[in-house]
Amino acid sequence: MVEENVIFDPEGYRGSLRERLIKDKIRTWSKVSVKKGEAHYEGLLLPRSQHTDDDYVTLKVDTGYNLGILVDEETDIQEIGYQKGHYKLPHVDVEFKKELPNVTLLGTGGTVASRLDYRTGAVLPAFTPEELFSAVPELTSTVNLTPKTLYQILSENFRPEYWVKTAESIAKEIESGANGIIVGHGTDTMCVTGCALAYFLRNLPVPVVLVGSQRSSDRPSSDGPRNILYAAQLAGYENFAEVVISMHGTPSDSYNLVHRATRCRKMHSARRDTFRSLSDIPLGKIDYSGTTWFKDDIKPRSNPEDFYLDAKIDSRVGMLYFYPGMNPDLLESMVDLGYHGVIVIGTGLAHVGTDVYPALERCQEEEIPVVMVVEPLYGFAQLRVYETGRDMLARGVIEGENMLPSAAYTKLIWALGHTRNLDEVRDIMLTPIAGEITNRESPRGFMIMQGIEPGIDQILKNL
């Protein structure tokens, strides 16, 4: 209960309505009676979401429904009781089991458990061990899982320093003997973090699995619980030691795909099977019956003693998406602003318009590496095919091979953390480190598991 003399905060309410609630001593979570002409409403006064109309109250009525009522001068509103909600999953006691592998789950936000945020009306991550285990009780019998919270942020708020801290935490867990690591991550920039980790964690001895959910865990249909279960299985038992992303492979709760982080991209804003491996097939898939590996170049688990962390970065790197009509002053201003390196996403084989050439020349003069990657996402940057491409090469740009934009961006940050010598940067950028560049491109990478689902035959028939 709130003490009488405490100044309470009508959460989310603003303006004159807020003043009125304070004056009349009406608290959020109190039971109120609202009278307005013939109409009479009773219910719990809920906190108000920030981006909504000022003059309305939100009531939770006896049936559990919420509704909004405009409070004007003629509206009578009174507090008649108080009941604060306690949003918490029941506590689960977890025993350490000697026979199970030890897996650490590093939470950075989102993923498995989240709860309603009244400030924005959206969902916020809630990430305590209790919450996790009571949401997904099967976890306790799969691995000895130790959840730790690194951040509680949405993935679009990540910054390069956060990749470093995440990598440091992973290193610490590996040194303490973890058999595998899971990183809970918002899906939007999961691939970017994944790429950075793949460069930072040298001679990685255990699996690092990035996982999240496309349907938040406040819904019964969430993909989160299944994703985390499969992630625990992968991290705890499978013989591979790479940074991977593992999420749903189809709209069904049937199997998850295992993608090499550096080849992976989020390809749909909302679907569960949003992640695809581009220009290659996924490493494998996992379902209730176990894991099937599709590729034979997977790095196996190795001796932890060879492992070391190399997370030196220079985050003054920018990324430019070239489009027809782009004014070269965008690139010029990046030089003016003191950027140390630029990724340019070029058209087709990685071209930019000829009017950008002077800006490229300036980058060359000032020894700012410009790395070209391809707008079509699939395939290689090939600047020797057309005259214009050769003109670009003459102006010092680096062909980014078939690195995905996120892989090239994070790699340049990492490379510049080690050297600003243009030739050395070029060397680092063009040497495959974690599968971000493939030395050959199999046609399967454009055909297989690129969103073709069982049942497609029937759809084609009905077209």
């Binding site: 006896d62 559990g64 509704l67 909004g68 949003y87 938040s216 819904r219 689902e453």
Partner: protein, 645 residues
Amino acid sequence: MIDQNNLDFKKLGFHAGLEVHHHIKSKRKLFCNCPTILEEDPENMEYSFYRYFRPVLGEMGDFDPGMLVEFEKGYKVIYLANERNTCTYEMDETPPFFPDMETIEKGYILSEYFHCTSFAEEIVVNRKQYLDGSITTGFQRTFISARDGWVPVNGKKVRITNLHIEEDAARRVNWDDTSSRTVYFNLDRLGFPLTEIITEYTDIETPGELIETAKQIGRVLRISKIGRRGLGTARQDVNISITGGNRVEIKGVQDLDLFDLMCRNEVVRQHTLIEIKEEMLKRGITEEDFEHTYVDVSHLFESEVKHFAVICPKMKGLFGLEVQPNKDFGLGIFEKSMLITGIPREDQYHSDEFEDGSIRRNSDYPSKLKIDKQLYDKLCSILNPKETDAFVVVRGSEKQSMHALKKIIERIKMALDGVPQETRRFIRNGNSEFLRVIHGKDRIYPDTDTPPVVISLDKIEEIIRNIGKRPWEVSEELKSKYGFSQNKVDLLIRDEQLDSFYKFTEELNLNAHLAFKLLIDIPRENRRKENILNEETIERIASLLASETTIPEQLNQVISLLSRNKHLTDEELIVQLNIKEISSEELATIVKQKIDFIGKDKLQTSEDEQRYLPKIVALVLKECNYSIKGQTVVSLVNSFIKEVI
């Protein structure tokens, strides 16, 4: 079991509430832009996918107990879908689109029809959890339009507590095996806009009132032209309790004609459960009597499948009591353990089945466990029941059997409290089966995908300003003005002809009975002859009658002429009607002829007159080619007959 045909509902403390779910006419679904089209063959679809569901916390931080039981069922849910009426929203692969504003407005209009006083001035979309797979998200998006309304029912007011607008669930298909852990849904219906109208649960006190309440609500949906028409557009859930019983929700009653039987069978069920409770208390049974000790008796059965038994102390004779026609208490329990654990009810046995005249043995689902005297005795020697004890045997996998026995014991313990609160599924024979534990308010929490939609009171007033007369107001009016029966009023409402009726009677000054005939009888009669009269034709005939270009006697000819050629001008029509100019002398002669034809000797008394008058008038009209008003002929014939008599 008390006699279901002879129940004193008032004395038993019968109370009922009604939840009417009705589709709202709409071009699009409530939260996406898919068209509202149902597939004719719901099992022949283009693609499918499957999911599993888990319960989530309610807003107040509690799991809904009903949701936990749903999770226990462990369903794998397979969805079938077609491209043309299903998008990634129905697949739960993309967030909702902005709700259909037209439907929101219709919600307010309906609320006004129901005299609601408290309108939602801001639409807050809520999520109502469902883990049965019927909704891909695991929750239904739903919101309140208004609260506190009423409908008049047999002279009293039945209160409407809430009027909601929500998205409909998917259609369950391939529903053959209730015990299966795999369920199938067709996604075509998912997202159809629906209104849910809920009555105050204590206001209805007889099945008759329940039926009338449902009818009144149905009339509003029709008169407002908001309700979608056709099969499967309306479903009712009924809450029933009697004194000492509990609120039980019976779902999916589509046919009002079955309400009475359903109420009777539920009253009987609750009454018997109360009797069982009293008997258990009399026998001194407490919860502590029951132990979860399951005995493996597999070796007694010549089968690969495991068999487990449990003793139910002091329960002898109770499992065999008939709780609903042709169903005993034991079978009622097994329906629940089957649904939750997946062990078919036929694989569950109780010891009262061994008694002579066992209800179970003659029920629709007798046990398939073959237990003869010898086996029964063997079971007794292992289980060692006392004289008053009963026992239960279940067969299936070890895990499922244990689960089922656990559920059975839990259910027996609940019998000490009489009637459990639960949601039951209506069965065509008037009985019902356990479906789920009743859902509470903890399963509702706000939808974070849809920000509140502000609708000001002024806007609401503008929306509801021009609603028409309510059905009960129309009945009142047409009864007092024209002596119309409720049945006639209902026909006008059902066929959506009320507007035309008012137009014909008030603007064209047509006789009300003639207007009714024109709008209802004639189109229906013609439909039977597969002659569909369109609205234009009916309106044209009404104007012809109003201007006295034709007279009602010529209706049939006019219709057949216009059906053959709707392009006829009024002049051509009149020519083709072949109207005869008949002088009063000529008419008198015809009348006399027809009276003679019938025979004067048959016209001796005023009863004779009553009997033959219509026939004579019909003959005269035909002779005159329907060119004279019937009323004129009637008075003429009358006066001639008077002379004869």
